[in-house]
């Protein structure tokens, strides 16, 4: 089963958004084939941002469940969230 991870970043980005986008690229490579990473940045993120009723970025939504909001998580935190999401 592929786990879906949506990563939200603002534009212009804050330091947390830059960090989370780098982390998203890293995880897309690391879990290629098992993790679907979707980056939603700036205006293009607005519709999904509102759909999930997010309050701020950076944010991570895994399998349509909000896991992280307003901060770039550590790798440990993100790993835990992905495990809970079935990775």
């Amino acid at each position: 089963m592929t786990v879906r991870m949506e990563v939200f970043s603002g534009d212009p980005p804050c330091p947390g958004c830059l960090a989370i986008l780098a982390l998203a690229d890293e995880y897309a490579k690391k879990y290629k084939g098992r993790l679907e990473v979707i980056k939603l940045i700036g205006e293009e993120a607005t519709a999904k941002f509102e759909e999930y009723k997010l309050g701020c970025v950076p944010a991570v939504v895994i399998n349509e469940k909000i896991r992280i909001e307003g901060i770039c998580p550590s790798r440990t935190t993100l790993d835990n969230a992905l495990r809970e999401g079935g990775l």
Binding site: G10, D11, P12, C14, P15, G16, C56
Partner: protein
């Protein structure tokens, strides 16, 4: 005496620092509304490029870039305002 201008730059969607900065500016406006002029810009406004900003949130006081990529404390913002001529 002319008002000190505060220009704030926030990302779209707003990051956690941007949310904090918005609250801080409301507080400052409530306390010093007759002494400051506040302008809030969202997204990649032309002034974002003009000031060579690289991260949001950012605060420009009296035409000088003072804060970038973080929400300042109230003390920090007040110090910047005083340097720009706030009495």
């Amino acid at each position: 005496m002319s008002k000190v201008k505060i220009e704030a730059f926030l990302s779209i969607p707003t990051c956690s620092g941007g949310v904090s900065l918005s609250k801080l500016l409301k507080e400052i406006e409530g306390e010093l509304g007759d002494k400051v002029e506040i302008a809030i810009y969202r997204g990649r406004h032309e002034l974002y490029q003009k000031y060579n900003l690289t991260a949001a949130p950012a605060v420009v006081v009296g035409g000088l870039v003072r804060i970038m990529g973080v929400c300042p404390s109230k003390e920090t913002l007040l110090a910047a305002l005083r340097e720009a001529g706030l009495e």
